[in-house]
Amino acid sequence: MRRRVLVAMSGGVDSSVAAAMVREQGYDVVGVAMRLAPEPSAPIAKRRGTCCSHDDFEDARRVAERMDFPFYVIDLRADFAARVVDNFVSEYLGGCTPNPCVMCNREIKFDRLWSRARALAADYVATGHYARIEHGTDGRFHLLRAADDAKDQSYFLFTLGQDELARTIFPLGAMTKTEVRARARALGLATADKPESQEICFVPDGDYASFVERRSKPAQLRPGSVVDSEGRRLAAHSGVHRFTIGQRRGLGVASGERLYVREIRAESGEVVAGRREELDSPGLIANRISLVDNSIASGRELSVEVKIRYRHRAIPATMRIDSERRAEIRFASGGPAVTPGQACVFYRGEEVLGGGFIERAITDEQAN
């Protein structure tokens, strides 16, 4: 019997080509588009009259028709709201800068969707992520960076463990974006020349602050002061959710020198601004650590490269994981600004070892 693959399709070129490729490889392909966003973006609702007649789903459906496999729209809005959106809002309210794509992969695509895949008698889940999975001679599965460094999405996938990798297919891992588009055109897919999606899907206008405010009670917001490193009050602000580490605009401070957000203290509502060079930290504490392969011993100091924001380069560091799934990471040399809430992903060369969520930066005074 042919093995069945559930392919998550967004209507974009990547997942379209991913679906077409597993189809060509002879799998029994079932395409699904996930309805995730809790509320329609206004222009779409206005244009099409209803919340779900999303053009993207129709694009995905056309690909499925062209490649001759069944396709369904599935409604995971409730799960997405509870596991991704609520988390996004509460992280911002707590002074952190969340990465909802990591959460969506962990909670929706490789958890909720996988349950659905089993319900539909599928053996694998495939997505259009740019990352590679290698089944080693040791019998272990390895998660590797994509061949196309500019598109590499392995950062978003660090929560996958052996069980998930064993039943996941990333058909695009060895391809470049240019090759993917060429493949889409060769296959005659309608999505071949679609533009990249950039924004977070449930905040299409990119205005996170307003989104957080719409989904919070006024009492949950933490207004307060922008202060300098010595605690002097520079300006007032309407909520810590409006800031992220390294932010320069919107501080409301008229100052001779450029100031950046270096720390957000949610409890007191203080946003600490400082000079560019005050942003750097020697290391960080991350929690909710997950490892691609649990055979990495805890308690031992490991040399790794860490990536602490998606668009950053991985930098050399040492890491020690404790028994509480927390890790202390020290950068080998002058570290970058550390943003609580973001994912911290450990690499060794091409390979993803695991990662966690940044709890806080380590300051020099704390170093010992």
């Binding site: 779900c52 999303h54 459906r61 729209v73 409604d75 809005r77 409730a78 709201a81 509870a82 319900a119």
Partner: protein, 387 residues
């Protein structure tokens, strides 16, 4: 071959309808309204079809207005009756109607009319007494579905005709799901207007009809030429009408035997899967339900998952109503019957039709419990967030 169990959404086209259409397609031309002989030939075929459709509900052919389908018939009945009854500004219906009733009523409300939607009981029955209670001299129209499309409940509409008559209101019966499945006689119902749908009884889609007892009490909603007794402008859909006529005649001839046969297939399917699925619940009454319709709540699973899993096994059923993108929304009918949203999201509709066989029931009776066990184990409801 997939097994098709979604006849309430659209029945498989009957062989008689397909044959009539293919005869017509090879020899077509002429507007039925034209004077020349091609037109006259078309006209004759249209009138034969009209008589065939009229016969299935015991109407006079001249009382049948062809439309594009049940939705248009319902729109014509509602907007046409409201327009003709110029002073009366109230419409009475129920909470479990088809969207082609509910949406026109919502539109009337938007325009300032009054609407009352009577609640059904837990089996989907609308108590005629509750309709009577809200009927008054302001009421222009009472509109009620004869058989519910989702759960199959058949309404007791017999008392309504005299009530409406006494109040001076028109009575419209949406019989789209009933005609061809159970005997429907306009005289016995005493209704003023009655909706028929072609594809629900085995014609092609795109054709329907409205029975109009008295043209003086209905105003047209589409204006143009004097077609369909001035009640529905536009060149008649001859292909559709011929299909509808042939399907109606075939359905009428087969109804007595078919309803018994389909009823026993459905009953045996229900008995078999009930035995295999503890906690399975039938929505709607045991008696007084369309013989072909089973609306079932499957414990512990999402209907959406069951629907897709069954489709991948070649069994075609349905759930609630599909949104524009093809995702499913929980049924408003089950909600009105007092079921929770969670229950509605666990419910599927299985609707049989003229071409289903005992062998299909045999196959499906084994497969449905198997699929249910797999889905319940892989994706238990406790894991999926309830909405």
């Amino acid at each position: 071959m997939p097994i098709y169990f979604d006849h309430n959404a659209g029945a498989t086209v009957r062989a008689e309808a397909a044959a009539a259409v293919s005869r017509l397609l090879s020899d077509m031309g002429g507007n039925p309204s034209s004077v020349h002989r091609a037109g006259q030939r078309s006209r004759r075929m249209l009138e034969v079809a009209r008589a065939q459709v009229a016969a299935i509900v015991g109407a006079e052919p001249r009382q049948i207005v062809f439309t594009s389908g049940g939705t248009e018939s319902n729109n014509l009945a509602i907007f046409g009756a409201i327009t003709a009854a110029s002073r009366r500004r109230k419409i009475v219906s129920s909470q479990i109607e088809h969207s082609s009733i509910l949406a026109p009523i919502a539109e009337l409300e938007r325009r300032g009319f009054d609407a009352v939607r009577v609640a059904p009981d837990s089996d989907g029955r609308v108590d005629p007494g509750r309709v009577l209670a809200v009927l008054d001299s302001e009421t222009a129209l009472v509109t009620l579905g004869l058989a519910n499309s989702e759960v199959g409940t058949i309404q007791d509409v017999a008392p309504l005709a005299s009530m409406c008559g006494a109040a001076g209101a028109l009575l419209h019966i949406d019989a789209a799901q009933a005609v061809g499945r159970i005997p429907v006689e306009v005289a016995a119902l005493g209704c003023d207007l009655l909706t028929l749908s072609g594809h629900k009884l085995g014609a092609h889609s795109g054709i329907g009809a409205l029975y109009v007892r008295d043209f003086a009490r209905l105003a047209p909603i589409v204006f143009g030429g004097p077609h369909e007794s001035g009640m529905r402008a536009g060149t008649p859909n001859l292909v559709g009408a011929v299909s509808f006529g042939a399907a109606a005649e075939a359905a009428m001839n087969a109804m007595a035997a078919e309803s018994v046969r389909i009823g026993s297939l459905a009953a045996s399917l229900l008995a078999r899967i009930r035995e295999a699925i503890p906690g399975l619940r039938l929505n709607g009454p045991m008696v007084g339900r369309l013989p072909n319709t089973l609306n079932l709540t499957f414990p512990g699973v999402l209907g959406e998952s069951m629907l897709i899993a069954l489709d991948l096994e070649g069994i075609e059923v349905s759930m609630g109503s599909a949104c524009a993108a093809g995702a499913v929304e929980p049924s408003h009918v089950l909600g009105a019957m007092g079921r929770s949203v969670a229950d509605a999201r666990s419910s599927l509709r299985i609707s049989l039709g003229w071409n289903n066989t005992a062998q299909e029931i045999e196959a499906v009776a084994a497969l449905i419990p198997e699929v249910w066990r797999r889905v319940a184990a892989a994706e238990p409801l406790s894991e999926a967030s309830a909405r």
